[in-house]
């Protein structure tokens, strides 16, 4: 038995960010166990570990590692930054949130880090099994994070719902993978790509079933309609910073994994109806997400439906995988992380019993009581609805431009129309912030220094990308070029 080819040169550099987060997480749980009195320090330490992880990207080795199962390249670094950004924002928001809710912290941040490692594995996995392994690592962390407020019934409900349905969805993905293995004789995406590139390949019903199973499983993780009904209940019950993180980072990881898979299938896609299935998922998500969000008064449920619609927009760009599509998805995920975590951040500061819904009435008149926090929420809402000069406008513009250039004009039109409809419920939040009187006994906003810092990061990021997106777009395009050039 010869095991040496398993370890290429510089393999340790290839997984340096993952190692930093793994060891950082272990350090945090031990720190929490050995120094229970210094627990309030775990949040700042977690931020430092995330920053170390981002810094370690400088030393990352690029190439294929671990016997062709792990690929590190430009695009994975872009997505790593997205994951780390989401992790930092969630950590900053949680530091104050957990203290107010009386939850002890070390394990919380450790799970956040290990979940991030799972997402990095999904982004870099060049083998369906590695992607599933990353997905499971991520899912197990999410199950625990969702139920972290274990004395609250809603938190338990969220955790249990996500656990049962998530386990079911993973079953679909595994079954689809098994069928792909049966057809292409490999789970390695590069080998599958060579198999699909063979001009004699025939599309059997088996392959279509495999694709549908895979899309059902990943559709669940993305909260694409019709696999979305878990999202509102889970977001409503989850600890609010976790809900924000859950709505952003796992979706980004799933999208990059799907980009790899779709790219491998590229040669056979014109002779199949597979992309029609994906197009229908996108259309359904945009229509259902945007129309049901209008009826929501609970802010977290509204953001859940808005998230369903947002991932619908991102799925439009998946229909044709080219450089612009990958770059626009990368930018969309970064902007989405900034604006959605910002919005969830303000909601997480509402000091009330977390078992009760956080409704629009709780933020009425906030603009006059807490100008900065209200401004942050308003900017996030403008960005989510896609108004210039925010990052939300730029990212939506790239997505729809890519779709039109690839000839998906009809779907892009549906996207534009539904996103115009979405302006109603996003701006209704702004209306409540500035044009409603606050009532007696109004819910207090309780934002500490960390959470306020997180809001500042998201505002600055949203405007920076909104006003000056070209460097980011060029970097993402170049990374996408390297990914697709294989």
């Amino acid at each position: 038995m010869n095991l040496t080819p398993l370890l290429e040169a510089h393999w340790i550099n290839a997984i340096l960010p993952e190692l930093v987060l793994c060891i950082g997480g272990m350090f945090l749980i031990l720190f929490d166990a050995f120094a229970p009195k210094a627990r309030s320090l775990t949040g700042p330490i977690a931020v430092v570990i995330f920053i170390l992880c981002a810094w370690s990207q400088r030393f990352v080795a690029v190439g294929t590692f671990f016997g062709g199962t792990y690929e590190v390249g430009g695009i994975t670094r872009v997505f790593d930054i997205t994951f780390v950004l989401a992790g930092i924002l969630c950590t900053l928001l949680s530091a104050d949130y957990l203290e107010r809710e009386g939850i002890t912290g070390g394990e919380f941040y450790a799970l956040l880090m290990w979940g991030t490692v799972g997402m990095m594995m999904m982004a870099k996995g060049l083998d369906l099994l590695i992607i599933i392994l990353g997905l499971e690592l991520l899912s197990i962390c999410i199950f625990v994070l969702l139920g972290f407020q274990r004395r609250l019934p809603v938190s338990n409900e969220a955790s249990l719902k996500y656990f049962l349905m998530g386990a079911f969805a993973t079953g679909f993905i595994l079954y689809g993978t098994a069928l792909f293995y049966g057809a292409t004789e490999s789970t390695n995406i590069n080998v599958m790509a060579r198999w699909f590139a063979n001009p004699d390949v025939t599309i059997t019903p088996l392959l279509t079933v495999a694709f549908v199973l895979l899309m059902a499983g990943f559709g669940f993780k993305l909260a694409l309609a019709p696999f979305h009904p878990w999202a509102p209940d889970v977001y409503q019950g989850a600890p609010t910073p976790v809900a924000g993180w859950l709505s952003v980072a796992p979706k980004a990881a799933t999208l990059i994994a799907l980009i790899r898979i779709f790219h491998a299938m590229g040669p056979v896609l014109p002779q199949t109806k597979w992309m029609t299935i994906v197009a229908w998922l996108a259309v359904l998500s945009m229509i259902i997400g945007n129309s049901v969000a209008i009826a929501q008064r609970d802010l977290k449920r509204m953001l859940a439906y808005s998230g369903i619609a947002q991932v619908g927009y991102m799925t439009i760009a998946m229909l044709t995988i080219n450089e612009d599509a990958v770059a626009s998805i990368a930018i969309y995920t970064i902007v989405y992380a900034l604006m959605n975590l910002g919005a969830f951040g303000v909601i997480s500061m509402l000091a009330k019993n977390q078992n009760d819904p956080q409704t629009l009435d709780d933020i009425a008149g906030l603009g006059w009581r807490r100008p900065f926090h209200a401004l942050a929420l308003a900017v996030c809402m403008f960005s989510l609805s896609g108004l210039p000069p925010t990052g939300g406008f730029v990212s939506k513009f790239y997505i729809f431009r890519t779709a039109v250039q690839s000839g998906h004009t009809g779907i892009a039109l549906i996207g534009i129309i539904t996103s115009i409809a979405s302006v109603y419920y996003y701006l209704r939040v702004v209306y409540y912030l500035y044009m409603k009187e606050s009532a007696e006994g109004q819910t207090r906003i309780d934002g500490g220094i960390f959470a306020t810092g997180a809001l500042a990061i998201s505002i600055i990021g949203i405007f920076l990308i909104g006003i000056w997106p070209t460097p980011l777009f060029h970097a993402a395009s170049y990374a996408a070029h390297l990914l697709l050039a294989r």
């Binding site: 038995m1 010869n2 095991l3 040496t4 398993l6 370890l7 272990m26 749980i29 031990l30 166990a33 050995f34």
Partner: protein, 123 residues
């Protein structure tokens, strides 16, 4: 080819028939007396003292979970120990050793964590 299985089919029909006939005869001819002790579980055993749907201290689950965790660790050690001597030549030896070292280290961190969290104390 198919006809070789006809005896099996006959066998199935006969078995089904016998079962149905005996059970329905019992139903038609037999006497039926119902009383509470017949409806109880363990009709001829010791009378039940209590319900079996009781809440159990969560510590039992905790201990069971920890036991399974560290038990599975041992299950992973065995195959490694079996192939280690044959597989270790050149770099592979160090590789296998390093892998197991990382594995033990991870479990060690978990062990220290649950110890410090007082999960082993029955209080």
């Amino acid at each position: 080819m198919t006809h070789t299985f006809i005896p099996v089919l006959i066998m199935l029909i006969v078995a089904l028939g016998v079962g149905v006939v005996i059970l329905s005869l019992n139903r038609v001819v037999g006497r039926h007396q119902r009383n509470p002790s017949k409806a109880a579980p363990y009709e001829s055993g010791v009378p039940l003292l209590d319900t079996n749907r009781k809440r159990v201290n969560v510590r039992f689950y905790q201990i069971a979970m920890l036991f399974i965790l560290f038990d599975i660790e041992a299950a992973f050690l065995y195959p490694w120990a079996v192939i280690y001597r044959d597989a270790s030549h050149g770099n592979a030896g160090m590789f296998l050793f390093g892998e197991m070292l990382v594995f033990i280290l991870l479990l060690g961190v978990g062990y220290v964590y649950v110890w410090k969290k007082k999960a082993f104390d029955w209080k």
